[in-house]
Symmetry: C2
Subunit: 383 residues, 2 copies
C-alpha cells in the first residue's frame, strides 16, 4: 500500500489537511489587498508564537537562510564572535560567521551534552575588554536531541553585554522560548517544524539592541537585509515576491496554533516526548541523551540494540510501516536514529510509532517484552 507515509523526522513534519488545501489554491498576486490582509494576520500571529513585540520578518528560504540573515546583518569583518556549539547546527553558526570574516571562538561539547552555563560565564569573564560582539546558540540541537537552557545562557550573555543570537528552528512552537522576557536579541525559526507547514519559509525577529548593531553593519546581504525587509513588514507586505502559497498555509496553521494555545502546544510536546522516552526505555533501548533536564521535547535520539543496525531499523520502519525516522548526522550516522515529536503530532501518532517500532525490533530479533513499549506509553499518558 502506498501514500500513507508518516514523517517522524525533525522536519519536514506532518502538515494538517486544511493547511495543505490552502496551499493548493491558485496563487494570489503578492501586491493585492487580499494578500496584504493575510500578511497582516501572519505578522501578528508570529509575534504571539515568538513571544515578542518585535517585528517578525518572513523570508522565503530554508531555516539556514534565516541563520545567514541573522549574522550577515550584524557582523563586520574582524568582529569577535563566540559560538556555543553542541552539534551540527551550532557549528553552522560558526561556519556562517567565519564566512563573514569574523574571528570565531567556540565552546564545544561532546555530542549529547548541553552548554554548561558556568563555562560560558568563565569564557565571557575573560573578555574584559568586551570585544565579543555576539554569542550564537541553539535552543534545540536537531542533530543530537539536546536542549540548551536558553533562559540562563541568555541572561549570562546579557550581563556581559554581547548580543544573543538564538537558533529556534526546531524549538519555536514546540518548547518555551520567551524572546522578550528572557531578553533574546535575535531569534530565528523555520516553517517545516513547529509551524506545521512545508519547508520554504523562515522567520527572524530582532531586539532594539540588535537593530542598533545592524545599523553599523557595512555589507548586509541584499536579499536578507533587515532594513528593507522590516520596512515591508510594517506595510503588511514583503520586500520581494514571497512563497505566497506557503504564506497562505501559514496563516491557517497559525490560527490552529492560537486555537490550541501556545502553553498547551508546549505541554503536548513535553508529554509526547517524555512518553516516547519512557516507552523506548521499556523496550530495552538506550536513549542517546539520558539526562531528562537537557533531553529535547521535539527530537529524541536513540541507540539501536546491540547487533541490530540503524539502517535495518529505518528500512523496516519505512517499508513495512511507512514511518520515516531520521538517521544520525555526520559522525553519528548509523550510530543513532532520531524520532521527531514535532509540530502536528498527536498522542495517537506516538502510539502508532511505538507500536511500529516494537514490530520492527521484533522482526529484527531484538529480545524484549513485546508490548512493553506501548503499555508504558499508555500508562505514562494516563497517569
Amino acid at each position: 500500500m502506498k501514500d500513507k507515509t508518516f514523517l517522524m523526522i525533525p522536519g519536514p513534519t506532518p502538515v494538517p489537511e486544511r493547511v495543505l488545501l490552502e496551499i493548493a489554491k491558485h496563487p494570489m498576486g503578492h501586491r493585492s489587498s487580499e494578500f496584504s490582509k493575510i500578511l497582516e494576520s501572519v505578522y501578528s500571529d508570529l509575534k504571539y508564537v515568538f513571544q515578542t513585540s518585535n517585528d517578525v520578518i518572513v523570508y522565503t528560504s530554508s531555516g539556514t537562510g534565516a541563520m545567514d540573515a541573522a549574522l550577515s546583518n550584524l557582523i563586520n569583518e574582524g568582529d569577535k564572535v563566540l559560538c556555543l556549539a553542541i552539534g551540527n547546527f551550532g557549528q553552522r553558526w560558526a561556519k556562517i560567521a567565519e564566512g563573514l570574516g569574523a574571528q570565531v571562538e567556540k565552546i564545544e561539547v561532546e555530542a549529547g551534552k548541553a552548554i554548561n552555563p558556568d563555562e560560558l560565564k568563565a569564557v565571557l569573564a575573560k573578555d574584559v575588554n568586551k570585544e565579543i560582539k555576539l554569542v550564537t546558540l541553539t535552543q534545540n540541537e536537531t542533530s543530537t536531541g539536546v536542549t540548551n537552557d536558553v533562559k540562563t545562557l541568555v541572561s549570562i550573555i546579557k550581563e556581559h553585554g554581547a548580543l544573543s543570537v538564538v537558533d529556534g528552528v526546531t524549538s519555536i512552537g514546540a518548547m518555551d522560548c520567551k524572546m522578550d522576557e528572557w531578553g533574546i536579541d535575535v531569534l530565528v525559526s523555520g516553517s517545516q517544524k513547529g509551524f506545521m507547514i512545508p519547508p520554504g519559509l523562515a522567520f527572524l525577529a530582532a531586539s532594539e539592541k540588535a537593530w542598533a548593531v545592524h545599523k553599523e553593519c557595512k555589507r548586509p546581504d541584499f536579499y536578507f537585509n533587515w532594513t528593507t525587509n522590516r520596512k515591508s513588514v510594517l506595510e503588511n507586505s514583503t520586500a520581494f515576491t514571497p512563497a505566497v502559497n506557503l504564506i497562505s498555509g501559514l496563516k491557517v496553521a497559525l490560527e490552529m496554533m492560537k486555537e490550541e494555545g501556545l502553553e498547551n502546544i508546549i505541554a503536548r510536546h513535553t508529554k509526547l516526548a517524555k512518553g516516547l522516552r519512557a516507552a523506548l526505555k521499556a523496550m530495552g533501548l538506550t536513549l542517546f541523551v539520558e539526562d531528562e533536564a537537557i533531553a529535547s521535547t521535539s527530537i529524541t535520539a536513540v541507540l539501536p540494540p546491540e547487533g541490530i543496525s540503524v539502517p535495518d531499523i529505518r528500512k523496516i520502519m519505512k517499508n513495512d510501516y511507512d514511518i520515516v525516522v531520521a538517521n544520525g548526522q555526520n559522525k553519528l550516522k548509523d550510530k543513532i536514529f532520531r524520532m521527531g515529536t514535532l509540530g502536528f503530532v498527536s498522542e495517537r501518532d506516538v502510539i502508532t510509532a511505538v507500536g511500529a517500532l516494537e514490530a520492527t525490533l521484533y522482526k529484527l530479533g531484538h529480545k524484549f517484552e513485546l508490548g512493553a513499549g506501548v503499555a508504558t506509553l499508555i500508562k505514562y499518558m494516563n497517569k
Copy 2:
C-alpha cells in the same frame, strides 16, 4: 461570484491544476531516495529549459535571491561592474552590486527603451585595461515590457572579456535564451513566471568561466554559496532543506514544458503577445513600447485612454471580471498598466482578457468600436 480570479500580472502567473495537486501532497523527507529521484529529474529538465549543459542550482528564494546569489558569489570589494539598466529590475542589479562594495558604472535608458548595442560597445571600448569584471543585464524588463537583444549584447561583452550576468526571471521558459550557444556566463530565473509554479524557487546556472571567477570570491554568501549548492546538485540533493512541495510541483511543470516543447512554448508566447498588442491597438489604446523589435512577448505595458485612469481600469477588471492586471511601478505607477501573457496562458485566456478589457473600457466611457479588440485578436490568431 468568488474564487475565479485570473492573474494576468508578470508573476505570480496561473498554475496548472496538476501542479497544484502535486504541491498539495504531504511533504516528503528531503533526504529520502524518493525525493532524490524528483531532484534528479528537475535538475536534468532545468538544463533543457536553460538550454545549457551547466548545472542549474535551485534556491528556495524569490528571483531576487538568485540575483543576489549571482553577484555575491562573484564580486569582491572594489570590483568594477557595468550595469545595463532599462528599468527597475536592471537597477536592482546595480543596487546588489553596490551593496557588495563594487564600483558600479551604469548605462541607463529612458523607460520603454532597450540597450543600444553600439553604446555598450563604446563604453566597453573605453575600458582599455579590462577593469570591468562583469556586466549585468536583463533579458525582459518586467517593469516596462521591453526585451533586450541578449544574444548581441552578450557577444559584445564576450569580446571585451567581462562576464555576462543575465536576469532571465520573466524570460526563461517564455522567450528564447540559448545560454550555451550565446555564451551567457550567469543566468538566473524564478519559479512563478515561465515555469508555471507558485513563487518560492529560483534558479541559477554559471559557465566554467564564471566558476573560475567565483573561486576568487572572498566572501560568498553562505546560504547562496555556489560551491556548496552545486556539490549537492551533483548528488541529486540540496544543500539545505528546500521547499519540497514546490519542487515536486516543478517536476510536473517541467514535464509539461518538455511535452509542449521549448520551441512551441516560445512560439506560443510570441503569438499571444503579438495578438494582444494588435487587439489593444484596435481598441484605440497606445502601447507603451511601440517598437515591435523590442516589445516583450511575456509582458505588455499599455497606456490608459485619455481621461480614464489606470486604477479605474484595474478596479473594474478585478471587481467585475476577476482579472488582475498590474499597475506600473515607481514613476510609471498609474501611468501604465501591464498585462502578462506569461507561463500557463492559452489563446482562450487572451480572448477572455481582451473581451473583459473591452467591457471595462466600455463602462468607463472610452470611445472605440466595441468588439474590435476581440475581432482583431481572432483574425491575428487565425491568419
